[in-house]
Structure formats: C-alpha cells, structure tokens
C-alpha cells in the first residue's frame, strides 16, 4: 500500500462527492433541503454515460447529465417552493423518481464498450512537486482539476459577492429579502436548479471518469447520501466540503486496498481470506459518515454556525415569524 496512491485515488473518488456537496450547499443556503441528491447523481451518471456514447464526446455527455439532473430537480422546486409542501417528503420522493428513471432508461448500458471518457493528464510543473504533485496533480481526470477551481470560486461567490449575500440572506430570513423587492421564489428555484446541475456533474464524474460505466444503483452506491451528510460536516462552507469530500474519497479507496494483499501488517489478512469480512470494511465509510456528522454538528453548535435558519421551511408571504 502506497500512501500517495491511496490519496491520489481518494482525491479522484472524492471529486464526485465534492460536486454533489457543493451543489447541495448552494441549495441549502437558499433555505431548501433537497434529499434527492442520490437520485439526481444517478440520473446524471446514466444520462452522461449514454449521451457520451451517442455523441462520441464525453463533454457533451456531461452537459446532458447535468441538464437531466437539473431538470428533475425542478420537480422538487415546484413542490417545495410553489406548493410549499414538506421538503423532506418531496426530496425523498424525488430520489425515488430520479432513481427509477435512471434504472429504466439505463437498462443495458453496462454492456456498452468503448464509451468515450473524460481525458486524464498531468499538470505541467505542479506534478513535479514530490508527493503533493503525485497526489493532486498527476494522472487525474480533467474533472478533478475542475473541482479544485470550483471550491474557491464557490466560497468567493457565497461570501464576497452581492448575489452570494442575497443567497445567504434568503436562507436565513427570506421575509427580509422579500421586503427589499428580491424574488425569493425565483432565487430558490434557481439554486435548486444549480444544486441539480452539480449533482448531475457528480454523477457524470463517476460514470465517465472515476469508475467508468453504469451499473444501476451500484454506480453511486449511496454517495448522494454521504454528500447530504457532508454538507452538515462542512457547515455549509465549500472549503470544508473539499476536505470532507477528499477524506471520504480516500477512506473508500483505503477500504478497497485493505482487502487486496494477503498479508496485512505482517499478519495474514483476515479481509482477504474471509470474503464476508469485506462487507464489514465496505460498511466503514458509511459508519464513519455517521460519526463525523455527530462530531461535526456538535462543533457547529458550539461555534454558533448552525444550519441556515430558514432551511426546510416554506416561505409564505405575510406569515408571522418568517
């Protein structure tokens, strides 16, 4: 087991999580909880894989994947913003809807061969840095580098721009925003859409770059749910989301690596000899999610950085207290 390789793979795996988490952060900052991330990711993975095959260009595939997830997110927008229904229920059903569409339309996609994938390359100069270069700047898919750019951009957008300030305000106290003549409903539709686009991008990153192919639910295998959890761990901050995403990516990779060798730390590797123990290993990242979430939210409480105050509450004009 080579640490650089594990971390390198972790960064690659974490990129899908990162995209989905950033998208959900933007959506939740506008005051809308969208639990349909898993389904939207799967839809993005399926659509982009199929479209890349059809058009022979992975970038066109990604575009379709993002749009498909963005469009399906508008179902959630209509139900929660316009109809003001419960966001948890709507998000869960969106998840079933998007998953269902992906499974039906994605039937048979796993038999495709030679689907064009996102190219991989080294970053000149930066990849020469010892260790860091190997982990972050060598042999990665183009999407990984897109991820690096997106983190500071998202942070800057949220914290240092006027639209970002409005985004924060609409998730904290929508009536103050409404009183200033800004369209609360329009903003929420928009950021649900952006969340959908990024979840789709996360899915596309899996099927066209990280672990190519479309294998029904196993494509995303619950990463959408981890992304929802990571948002809390990240305290709605893109920089922390990047850390979370890459750490979880590395963890998922480490679990695979532990299963591989016959000897582990000089002893016979129980995970190698008994395949059932492997299930325990595969469970670890998810168990770890739970633990990190508990720690993360306790810390958030202590530091007074709670969730956006209006998260999960429909905005109804003129109602008291909102």
């Amino acid at each position: 087991m080579n640490l650089a390789i594990i971390l390198q793979a972790g960064v690659a795996t974490g990129t899908a999580l990162l995209f989905a988490t950033l998208g959900e952060i933007l959506t939740e900052r506008s005051g809308i909880l969208n639990l349909g991330v898993e389904g939207m990711m799967l839809l993005g993975a399926m659509t982009s894989y199929a479209m890349s095959n059809k058009f022979g260009n992975p970038w066109i595939g990604i575009l379709f994947g993002m749009l498909a997830a963005g469009l399906v997110s508008q179902v959630h927008a209509f139900i929660t913003v316009t109809l003001q229904a419960d966001q948890v229920v709507s998000g869960l059903s969106l998840n079933f809807l998007a998953t269902g569409i992906s499974l039906v339309l994605g039937e048979g996609l796993n038999s495709l061969v030679g689907v064009p994938l996102i190219p991989k390359f080294d970053i000149p100069l930066l990849s020469q840095i010892p260790f860091i270069g190997d982990v972050f700047f060598a042999g990665h898919s183009a999407l990984v580098y897109v991820g690096y750019l997106m983190v500071p951009l998202a942070w800057y957008f949220i914290n240092r721009t006027r639209p970002g300030m409005h985004l924060r305000a609409v998730g904290e106290y929508p009536s103050a925003v409404d009183a200033q003549g800004i369209n609360v409903f329009g903003m929420r539709y928009f950021y649900i859409f952006v969340g959908g686009l990024l979840a789709g991008l996360g899915g596309a990153a899996i099927s066209l770059a990280i672990s190519p192919g479309f294998f029904a639910e196993k494509t995303t295998s619950g990463q959408g749910w981890i992304a929802v959890g990571l948002v809390i761990f990240a305290q709605w901050n893109p920089i922390r989301a990047a850390f979370g995403g890459y750490i979880f990516g590395a963890l998922r990779r480490l679990v695979l690596d532990i299963q591989g060798p016959m000897l582990l730390l000089g002893f016979a590797n129980p995970f190698y000899y008994n395949p059932y123990y492997g299930f325990f290993l595969k469970m670890l990242p998810y168990a770890f999610t739970v633990i990190v979430l508990i720690i993360g939210s306790r810390e958030a409480n202590r530091k007074r950085v709670g969730s956006p105050a209006a998260l999960g509450l429909p905005y109804i004009r003129g109602q008291r207290g909102l």
Binding site: G164, A179, G181, R320
Partner: protein, 527 residues
C-alpha cells in the same frame, strides 16, 4: 395631471408645507373596514404621532403609505405630486421608508450587509470594507451608533432598530414611518431613540410615529392624529393643545380611568411565602440572591424593578419552571420547592407568563386547545385517556364569551390573534378556575389602553375574590394603582417593601439602594 394641479391651487395654504398628504383613504379587508375616509398630513421636519388602539387602522394607513398595501379609494400626494405605489420599492424611490415592528434583518449577516441587501450597488463584488466606512460615516452623521461590522444577532434590540433606520436613510428616505418603535425597547433605549428622532427632524427628515402609548406621544411628537375604528377622531392637533386625558378619550371614545378604583379590604392568610431563594439564570449566572417575600390572600403585591433583575427567574422558581439552589417556596402551607409545575397547579397556582407567544400559548394550536391545557384531564373535558371534543369546544365558547375574546371561532390558531386577544386567552385559562395564587408577569405589556384596563380590572376582581396576586411589572404607574404593597427587586435581591406608594423611595431602590439606607439618609437630613 391638470386636475391635480387645480386641486393644488385650491388647497394651496395646506399643501405648500406638507411633504405627505393622504386624502380620503379607504381600505377594506375581508369583513373589516380598516380605513374609512382617512385624511393625514405630514409636515416637513415634524414628528407626527399616529395614535390609536390596536386595530384602529394606524398600521394599515402607514402600510399604504409605504407601498405594502394599495388603498381602495383616496389619493396620496408626496411633495405636492400625486403618487401611486405598487410596492415598497416605489415608496422608497419616492423617499418614504418604514421601520416595521418586526425588524426585517438577517441575523447572521453584518450591519453593512443588511443595509446593502436588495440594492443594485455593488454590482457583483462586495467590497465590504469600503461600504463599512460609508455606513460608519452615515451612522456618525445621524448619531445612530452601531458597529457596521457587527452581526445582527450580536446587537441589542435598540441597536437593531438603528440598523433599520440606517437602512432607510441609506436608501435616501426623507420621510420615515416608525411602527410602534418603542414597544420592543428598554426605557433607556427609548430615550436614545427620541434623541435620534429629534436629530433627524433637525436635518429635515419628517417622521410618522405610530403608537398607543400616550406618554410617549406627549414626549416626542409635534402633532398628533388620532384614529378610532378606522376613522380619524382628531386630525393633526398640536401636542401643546392637548392633554393625556383628552387624547385617551379621543382614542377609546370614552373616559379612561387612569386611577383604578380599589376597594379597601383586609388581606387574609399568607398564601405564598418565599424564603431565602437562590437560583441561576439561563446562562448559569447567579440571578436570585436570597429572595424573601410573602403574598396574602386578597391582596395584590407588586414587584417593581428594571427588567432583568431576577423577576423572571423568581416567577419561574415559584411556578416550578426553574430549580432553586437554596431556599423554600411554600404555597398554602405546603413546601413545593423544586417540584414540578404540576404540583403548583394542583395547589391552585396560576401563571401569566411574560412571553405570551411561546410560554403562554402554543401558537399553532386552536383557542380551544389552549384554554383546556390545564384542565384537560378533568371531567367533563377529559374522560380517562380521551378528550371530549364537544365538551372542550363548549367550554372554550363559554370562555370566549365571558372574556370577550375576539376570534372568528374557537378552532382558530392562536398565532393569528392580536396581543390583547392572546392575553385574554391566557387569562381565560388561568383565572377562570379561581386561583389561590396568581403570578402575573408584565400582564399589560404591549396592549392598548382598552385592553390594559380590561386586564387590570380582571386582576382586581381576583383580589376581591380572595386570590393572592403577585404582579410583576415595569410600569410603575400600574404597580402603584393596583398593588397593596410593592417589593423592589435589584440584582436578585429585595431592596425593600413599600406600602404607601412612595414613588421616590421605589425609584431609589430600583437603582440599588437598600430601604435601610434610604431611612438612615432621611433621618440624617432631618437632623
């Protein structure tokens, strides 16, 4: 346009100095005529109070001027030009800004960010340090002291109000509407606000001040317009030409008794006896430091003091909502210290809490559910583990009638009720079963004159019926007129007890002087 200018000439004398003229404003709401041909004029550089009871139509009128509602009839002129507002944005563009009773501020954002919210400048990049400086300069100019970089949640209510004012000034408002600005402020903050308002009028701003507190209207305004049930009862009279009693009469349409009549009666046995109580506040700091007092049957005992000196903690300890670390609470001869609130309720303790909306009621539940909260287990409302809905509704209807709760029906959620009606719901629940002991925390705060009188009358009725009443209030006048005796609390200690209503002594004790010291001083000066 022609029409308007001829009208201008006709009314020239009245028009020329007025920044706002509202003429014949009519506004209907379903089932209510909120404004019935209301005229209102605001002169440049004046503070014009709009006085009226809750529901008199003051806020409606000002919401029309601020562009939140549209009038059904009538016209509005600003600086001599007729205006039609479709949204608050239009009103702000015409220089009219309104500071609402509930502040429209984002708690997690800074003062500057809140001021910039919704403006088209800056375009994209938020250069906060630059705007911080602009806001700081503006704050300096108007004497609205607040740190531009502070987050709203860190600010006191008074400071938040200043942010709202800055927000309007930043948008170029020349005409400011303040909807009951003092309702949320502490007495010292009210003084600061008045200083600020005067400073602003000196800079040529014109201010409308909505209130139902007579002494404030007398203190701050130049002129006053009184509304009653949607109609103007007195338009733009000079404050010098009027009196409190006269205004009160205009406001409620009948003589208001400021001195409530209280019959002489001998108090009975001691019902509540609090002995050397120590307790902590929510932050874990010492809030009560050895409180000892007693209340007898058939008397009202006042507890005076500036807010935050332990009144709430004391009420909590007596009603079982807070643990005492030391001392005893004895009610009707039984030690109930640190028992559950239910133990107190069984001993006949009733509680009118300070926070009506969160402690006093469950906002989303109906009037019925709120009034049966204490006796839902008793026949005929409670039967075994069931609640008899028919009986509960019948009971609620009786109370609605008896306490004159104005609500379409008893199934309405109480969150839709006005402050006065909400208090009636609480009173109905708390005193309909004659309580042994009534703890009333700020029972009249935020209510209009008519409602205050009603609440005070009910408290006196409890006294006549032989209940022991502990009245906690910041309104000295109220304490003096209702109470038989008054304790003064300061930093968790009782400074002394006054039975003769000596307001000077009470004032001294409220600032931390012990009764003993006052007496000694008095003796010295006599020598």
């Amino acid at each position: 346009m022609e029409m308007v200018s001829t009208m201008d000439q006709e009314n020239e004398v009245r028009e020329c100095r007025n920044v706002v003229c509202m003429r014949g404003i009519v506004k209907h709401f379903p089932g209510v005529l909120a404004n019935d041909h209301v005229d209102f004029e605001l002169r440049e550089g004046e503070v014009h109070a709009l006085l009226g009871e809750n529901g008199a139509g003051k806020s409606t009128l000002m919401n029309i001027l601020a562009g939140l509602y549209r009038q059904d009839e009538g016209l509005i002129e600003v600086n001599g030009k007729e205006v039609k507002f479709n949204s608050p944005r239009d009103a702000i563009a015409a220089g009219i800004g309104m500071v609402h009773q509930h502040f429209m501020l984002v708690p997690s954002q800074s003062v500057t960010e809140n001021i910039l919210l919704g403006l088209s400048e800056p375009r994209f990049r938020l250069n906060l340090p630059h705007y911080d400086a602009v806001v700081a300069q503006m704050a300096e100019e108007y004497g609205l002291h607040v740190d531009p970089r502070a987050k709203i949640w860190q600010l006191s209510v008074g400071e938040q109000q200043r942010v709202e004012l800055l927000k309007m000034l930043y948008r170029g408002a020349e005409i400011l509407i303040m909807d009951e600005p003092t309702a949320v402020l502490a007495p010292s903050e009210i003084d600061d606000l008045f200083v600020t308002l005067r400073a602003m009028t000196q800079k040529g701003k014109s201010i409308t001040f909505i209130s139902h507190k007579l002494h404030e209207v007398m203190a701050i305004s130049n002129r006053v317009t009184v509304l009653r049930k949607g109609k103007v009862t007195s338009s733009g009279i000079n404050i010098a030409d009027t009196s409190r009693a006269g205004l009160a009469n205009l406001m409620v349409g009948r003589e208001v008794v400021f001195r409530v009549d209280k019959n002489e009666q001998e108090p009975g046995d001691v019902i509540l006896s609090v002995d050397n109580i120590h307790a902590e506040n929510n932050k874990g700091l010492k809030a009560l430091n050895g409180i000892t007092l007693n209340v007898r049957a058939g008397e009202i005992v006042g507890l005076a003091g500036v807010a935050g000196n332990g009144q709430r903690e004391l009420a909590d300890v007596i009603t079982g909502l807070r643990k005492a670390s030391e001392g005893q609470v004895i009610i009707g001869g039984e030690d109930i210290t640190n028992l559950s609130p239910k133990a107190g309720i069984r001993k006949g303790v009733s509680h009118i809490p300070e926070d009506r909306t969160h402690v006093g009621t469950a906002p989303n539940l109906s009037v019925t559910d709120n009034v049966i909260m204490k006796n839902y287990t008793e026949e005929p409302i409670g039967k075994g583990w069931m609640v008899n809905d028919t009986a509960a509704t019948k009971y609620a209807r009786e109370l609605k009638k008896a306490f004159d709760i104005i609500v379409p029906n008893v199934h309405t959620s109480v969150r839709l009720l006005s402050g006065g009606n909400l208090q009636k719901v609480i009173l109905a629940r708390e005193i309909s079963k004659k309580p042994e002991l009534l703890i009333a925390m700020q029972p009249t705060r935020g209510l209009d004159v008519g409602a205050i009188e009603g609440v005070q009358r009910l408290l006196l009725l409890q006294r006549e019926a032989g209940s022991a009443v502990l009245l906690v209030s910041e309104e000295l006048e109220e304490l003096l007129s209702l109470s038989d005796r008054i304790y003064v609390i300061y930093e968790g200690e009782i400074m002394g007890e006054v039975a003769d209503g000596d307001i000077e002594k009470i004032g001294l004790m409220m600032t931390g002087m012990q009764m003993e010291d006052i007496r000694l001083q008095g003796e010295k000066s006599n020598e």
